[in-house]
């Protein structure tokens, strides 16, 4: 497990998300209305929709393709849908965001 600095809080819109490219696929990094930051795998288990493009509400996001709703805290689908996305540990220190990734890698850009 390694922590990677990927950017700062103000680079993500409030109630919005940005994505981070990694060798293991895209990760969506979300910032909620109360400035909490979450990271989940950017791939809806239903049809592969990019969750980072969805509307963020509370600590949840709605997939832009077919409106599945996922908890950003647990990664679990909400309501009647069943499925989950992987969650990635996030650390925010003084506005600097780091992700815990299980690989030896360097962060670019």
């Amino acid at each position: 497990m390694n922590w990677f600095h990927i950017g700062t809080l103000d680079e993500i819109p409030l109630r919005g998300a940005r994505c981070v490219n990694t060798p293991q696929g895209k990760i969506g990094v979300f910032r909620t209305a109360d400035d909490k930051v979450f990271a989940i795998e950017d791939h809806c288990p239903h049809r592969g929709g990019p969750l980072s493009q969805g509307i963020v509400h509370g600590a949840a996001v709605t997939c832009p393709l077919h409106n599945w709703v996922f908890s950003l805290e647990t990664g679990k689908a909400q309501g009647a849908d069943e499925g989950a996305v992987r969650t990635i540990a996030v650390r925010v220190e003084g506005g600097r965001i780091s992700l815990a990734l299980e690989m030896i890698a360097v962060a670019a850009e």
Binding site: F4, Q53, I55, A105
Partner: protein, 814 residues
Amino acid sequence: MTERLVIIGNGMAPGRMLEHLLEAAPDRYQVTIFNAEPRVNYDRIMLSPVLSGEKAFEEIVIHGDGWYIKHGITLYKGHKIVAIDRAAKTITSDRGVTEPYDKLVIATGSVPFIIPVPGKDLPGVLTYRDLDDVNAMLLAAQSRAKAVVIGGGLLGLEAAAGLKEQGMDVTVLHVMPTLMERQLDPAAGYLLQRAVEARGIKVMTKANTKAIVGNGRVEGLELADGTIIPATLVVMAVGIRPNTAIAKDAGIDTNRGIVVDHGMRTSDPDILALGECAEVGGQVYGLVAPLYEMARVAASRLAGDEGAGFVHSDTPTKLKVTGIDLYSLGDFADGEDREEIVLRDAAAGIYKRLVLKDNRVIGTVLYGETGDGAWFNDLKKKQTDISEMRDTLIFGQAYQGGSPLDPMAAVAALADDAEICGCNGVCKGKITGAITQKGLTSLDDVRAHTKASASCGSCTGLVEQLMSLTLGDSYNPTAVQPMCKCTDLGHDDVRRLIKAKGLKTIPEVMQELQWKTSCGCAKCRPALNYYLVCDWPDEYADDYQSRFINERVHANIQKDGTYSVVPRMWGGVTNANELRAIADVVDKFEIPLVKVTGGQRIDMLGIRKEDLPAVWSDLGKAGFVSGHAYAKGLRTVKTCVGSDWCRFGTQDSTGLGIRIEKFMWGSWTPAKLKMAVSGCPRNCAEATCKDVGVICVDSGFEIHFAGAAGLDIKGTEVLGLVKREDEALEVIVALTQMYREQGRYLERIYKWAKRVGVAEIRRQILDDVPRRGEFYERFVFSQKFAQVDPWSERVSGKDKHEFRPLATVTIAAE
């Protein structure tokens, strides 16, 4: 002392029995239920909508776990009863629980009939009976492969429609010459077959199954004539048999079903049976209405009322496949002493047949339009002499006594004891009584208190009409439809309050209108954003985080996460420079697909999000702006070549189309808005199925609106004829503004028009000239802020973060 009541089975009949019993004698029994299915009581009739994906299981649960706890009922889930010891008065489950009883109710339902053909036990052969079957079918449907449904009855057709909806290639095999022959005469069966086939389901009648073939699992099905149909899923829906095994083993009298008297008592006086497993008066039942009647009787008997008795009545059959209306009741065989009245309307796909005997209705088959079913049922039940209205009988109740064709009048004219809800046996008087006595105001309330329309739901329209009749203007079915789960307010109230209270930001709306969630959801946020953009064009700062991705990045997201880009081609007109620029962009960015859209412009598909600003930059240099093909806003104005070129053209339709598009582009509307202008009534621009259309004629411009050619197909309504082009533009703009101000988010103009009424719109836009002017002015004002090309803004650097990853993590070099 409380007695011990034990129930075997937890289907709809015993569930209903308990409801009645808890009402009549709440403290008399200590109740224990054994359910072979590992779940609570749910509405089995609604399994078909679950299969088709229209409903979730949670939506069809009748009694949740909480209900059992609240009433102190012990429910053993997943326990199958293996023995009844009548001498000791105990029963024992397969998981070793033994429970003593004072009274026992057997409600084991039925088991699906399995055709005894070779291969019937292969994996991939299913029946259609409970939620497990539905889940198994949904799993099988994921393969998008071929399915065969054996049985063209009610269940078989519902299963076929559901599987088709899930994307399977479905064939229905039916052994008889026409579908649903027990409920439908051959003519209606034929219409039904056509409707089923029109959905892409293959139907084979007179098809005898010889064997199900496959090595280790189903691979196909062989018919008696040797035909092999490949399939990976076979669903048997050929009928049900009462499940009597446990009663038989215990020495209780059984015949086809468990024999009960009309008080639901079996040959053992302490044991009752009800539901599909019971046989009363020599008949067994499979439709919900008589089963609920049994539940009522059994509950009364258990509560000590020895007078209650089961009375047979015919139950209408309705098919629960969206878009197919079918109703059948009673006896409709031909006979010497019988007469019939038939109405056929081939164009509308309507077939109605009444079978009469001695001037009384004895049978009804309705196909395509079933609104009068309740009335015919009532005539039959009461044995009304119809000789007076014989000539107009088939046209339905609205035509009787010269009253106008008004569905409300028809419902008003029904007698108090006319049946409204066939499933639950609820008559009109019970519904209207409950509404007034209990002060019910919503459909859900009425369902909760009376059960009317709570099972299959096909009488929902009738129930709503009754609510309007009883409550008058105070019943507004839309007012009780909240925007989403974040608020109890409906769209109209929210719009009204935004204006009245001067609310100008989303957080302000949520605070003032007491939103129940901290920052809304994906349903209400885009709606609120639109309402604020529309109502405060100069003051509101558009909240991009409350817009759907397409409107946030000004392109259309595709299934693989890439985007499509459609530049505006005013009125569908282009030129060599524009086409060259598009060709260059396609080459430069290796765009995989270029396609001409239905709105007369060019779509470039498969563009990576990161490339969007560069694509727009190149397109912008050639003069292109965003076509808003992603927007709930003005999309296209389609045109024909009009009087400039066409020998039939009456006006410059191309010119008018371009003028409209240049005037109105950039405006946001409740839902997408597509327009067209045709130069003559031959209508080459297909203006009569658009949101707004113009048909040019010699004398001027015929303004049309409220057409649809998507989920619904609907010709336009004519708003009126105007003489001059300027006037046409003003009317169209004012109409759009009225829709912008009143429409609910995502409500297309035809739905809004239906709600508001075409006459009212005509009055405000065409007749009331000052009012039209006000609408026009407000639109023009809002355009000052809306007509900014979003693409060039983004080329200049707006929302840069949208088009770039936050970071890229790569593997470190060793």
